[in-house]
């Protein structure tokens, strides 16, 4: 058989299936039942964001982070909420721009102005930002950063611990120039302490260090091994917590102190904060949390299991949902319902948590799943108001009617990059919502604009700096 090349498969424009209309969505509902969803749509629908103000448009953020995602993720949150985010990149650009799966250059994105190729991951976190270049290896480049910091509200950086300080552009020095500056360092394990970061550590360093990798994946008995996340999850969580810290500092500065502060957030600490009950449990009796695959140690039923055409999630931690789930199963397979309901060992909620009880539960449930597709199982379970849904792949996520209707995935018609499918900011707000204005910028695209506007540079200055490799 001839090999099929991906370029031979036609790519349909998104959405391949039309977005449902309001009439289809709310068919059969009474006026009264439609009232609340209508109010919500009128107030938070993404189509109206262009009519509304932005929250943080008085804030200027310098994102000096390179080579990893944590800083970019953090500045994305500010950019989505209206801040002016300027990415300060080394000449030639952040090396992360060139990251593309398996080095596939044919899967990169080119802009219409420079033709420079950028990887999808970087482009996705380049949203609403400006890009300038600045060579921080040179003294003159660092002087430029100092000038830029005079009128900045936030600096985010992730260079090796102490590097900016040694260069004379760390918090200690920049806060002398601009006492209102909120300065944030982000990294994997920290910029100080016995395990402080070695230069250029990337996620999953943090995933391994905080117990995440150890707890993810199937148990040994099921042929599993510790598993990292498919994305840079610690960077995402660490970046979000950094943004929370910065936002708190900005609030305090504006209302009370008039001064900025030094913020530090790490990818490891981000996940450590949110890794369930691990620490309480460990502290109580020395327990080492085991891997438990796609099941849950603390809730039964609450799991993802294989079904006819993939995997399906079903959840219901207490009796009411437990019986509804088995009632649904019983409509097709009464003997399975009977088997579970009549088992004295599974009568009480808390008795269902031990390993053997979960094995029995899910083995029985999978008997029913194997004859049902994700959609069939989901539909039957939802008829009983049980939380359920299939494991979706990217194409299914992109085409999920609910997501399309609500703008959870969207296409931006970018001036430079054309039509790009993306996940927008998930917070919908009534009066000043976050939004996507452009998807990204090629390296140094805004040099001229920013250096003229903020520094008052003339063409000669720019040409000289460019020639000397400073910008």
């Amino acid at each position: 058989m001839a090999e099929i090349k991906s370029s031979d498969i036609p790519v349909l424009p998104w959405p391949a299936v039309p977005v449902p209309t309001p009439d289809e969505v709310y068919k059969g509902l009474s006026e009264q039942a439609r009232e609340y969803p209508n109010w919500l749509e009128a107030n938070v629908h993404f189509r109206d964001v262009g009519k509304k103000p932005e929250k943080l448009n008085r804030i200027r953020v310098l994102d000096c982070s390179i080579k990893m995602n944590i800083g970019h993720w953090c500045s994305s949150l500010f950019a989505e909420h209206g801040a002016e985010v300027i990415m300060v990149e080394p000449p030639g650009g952040d090396p992360t721009r060139k990251h593309t799966p398996f080095g596939r250059k044919d899967l990169m994105f080119k802009d219409s102005a420079t033709g420079e190729a950028v990887g999808g991951k970087f482009l996705h976190e380049c949203r609403n930002k400006l890009s300038i270049t600045m060579n921080l290896d040179t003294a003159e480049g660092r002087e430029l950063l100092k000038k830029l910091a005079v009128d900045a509200d936030v600096v985010i950086e992730n260079y090796p611990p102490g590097q900016f300080d040694a260069w004379g552009i760390g918090y200690r020095q920049l806060s002398q120039i601009n006492p209102r500056l909120v300065y944030c360092w982000v990294g994997q394990r920290g910029q100080w302490g016995p395990l402080k970061d070695r230069p250029w550590m990337y996620d999953p360093v943090a995933q391994n260090a905080c117990g995440f990798t150890h707890g993810t994946g199937a148990p040994v008995a099921f042929g599993g091994r510790p598993t990292r996340s498919g994305f840079w999850v610690c960077d995402h969580v660490g970046g979000t917590s950094a943004a929370m810290g910065i936002m708190a500092a900005l609030n305090y500065r504006e209302r009370i102190s008039g001064r900025g502060q030094f913020v530090e957030a790490t990818a490891a600490a981000g996940i450590m904060r949110i890794i369930d009950y691990n620490w309480g449990w460990q502290g109580m009796d020395g327990s080492v949390r085991p891997r438990f695959g796609n099941w849950d140690l603390a809730i039964n039923i609450y799991a993802v299991n294989p079904c006819k055409d993939g995997q399906i999630m079903v959840g219901g931690g207490h009796d009411r949902l437990w019986f509804r789930i088995w009632k649904t199963v019983g409509k097709d397979r009464p003997e399975l319902e009977e088997h579970i309901i009549e088992d004295p060992a599974l009568k009480v909620v808390v008795d269902r948590l031990p390993f053997y009880a979960q094995v029995e539960t899910y083995t029985t449930l999978s008997e029913w799943f194997k004859d049902n597709s994700r959609l069939e199982a989901e539909t039957k379970l939802q008829a009983e108001e049980v939380a359920s849904g299939g494991v979706s792949f990217t194409d299914e996520v992109a085409e999920f009617p609910h997501f399309k209707y609500r703008g959870h995935v969207g296409v931006i018609d970018d001036v430079l990059y054309g039509k790009v499918l993306h996940a927008p900011a998930p917070q919908l707000a009534q009066k000043a919502p976050p939004r996507l204005k452009w998807i990204g910028r090629p390296t140094g695209y805004d040099n001229e604009e920013v250096y003229r506007r903020i520094f008052g540079f003339k063409k000669d200055d720019l040409d000289r700096l460019k020639k000397q490799g400073i910008i």
Binding site: L40, H124, V205, G215, R225, G230, F262, Y277, V409
Partner: protein, 454 residues
Amino acid sequence: MAEQKSFEQYCRETFDAKKIFEKPEAFKGYVAISTTQYILGPSCANYFAELGMETIKIELPRRGEPMRHTTPYNEPFLYPLSKQMPDKGTGLGFFGANHNEYFLSVDFHKPEGVEIVHRIQAKTDIQAENYRPGTFDRWGIGYRQAAKINPRLIYIWMGGFGGWGPGRVRASYDILGQAAGGCFSVTGFPGPGHGHPAIGLPSKHTIWLADYWGGMMGCFAGLAALWWRDNVSGVGEFIEYSQVHGATRHLESALPIYGRYGIIKQRWGDWDTEMCVHGIIKCGKSSYPTSKNPQEMEEGYILVSAPEDGDFARLCQAVSNLKPLAGKYAKADDRIQPAAQTEIYTALEEWAKDKTKEDVWKFMEDNNVNSQPVWSNKECALQEHFQLRDELHWLDDPYFGDVLSQGLPYHLSETPARHRWAFKPVGADNEYILQKYCGYGLDQIRELEKNEII
């Protein structure tokens, strides 16, 4: 001029955990309401409490919210659950999302309960709520009613699919967010035929990621809304956060590449699709050969990271098994190919066969290569680093005594966030809150108790 402190010393002093309570709080005097259950909403309000807002968690009386009854294997509990139920405890599932809060119990279904909520809402800056969409509106305590009482209120609704659109009636949990949002589909080992020697299924992130991280996203929006209210507009607003929506935000390159090129991102196990060497390898020897705990008996795992050409050359110098590959895969673009990754990681695992993860770690540090062992929660908890940095700490809790708790995910030099206590029994602060916010006296409170309103 005095000698300047080393940067390390400066940071240790600036972020010193022992000094946290000597510093001010970022949101002193702010009031937050948490009418939430499970994790998504509670964690959002919890982040406000850590920053100094007086956060009032309102639960249904006696049994409290469902997460109090969730704990691994149903073993560890903290007692008592409530004044009425001293022989029951609260499960550790409740632990990470309710620090520092005040606990009020109110039955929202009764008019007296609604009155209590209104009186508190009148004094509140920000509220997190995660009941089914429209429920609070129907009960008369939703945003539309509250905004009439207090136009400065910021109201964050958090939940599964959101209150409008085709899926609005669907129930959701964290794991459904991970599944429907696409997080499962890219995590774990790939199916057969993808050029990876190991095979596996889409995998769950061990943590309740869509919940806890969703709470963070809600918190950020809330803090931004406070900034906007206090500095620009003077008005509050309604924010809607959908957990399954949030999960799609994690997909990185998957959506842009699918949209333009029609390629559906798959899984790539413990290696990286964009960098090599940057993968987790198995070490042949267990670090705890005499342990009886199956979690410790298994072999060790470690991340070896040498993605740039110079790093890789250094790694090949050091690791005997990689020497033959040094020239062949000198360029990053060649190393990243699936076959090359398989060859490189196989050689590394072969080399690590007779080593523990600690052996490999030390070897890599000595050879100036980045690496990080896969630590269990126990190994992580024993690191001096995290305790020194207050990212993990023992709380002297007024109810539960010494409990090991997660610390704060970020450090602020001037207004650090902090933990005072873990949580309290259901309704523990009824009297304090009803006096302070509702103006009720003792008789009135006893009456409410008798009528099972609180």
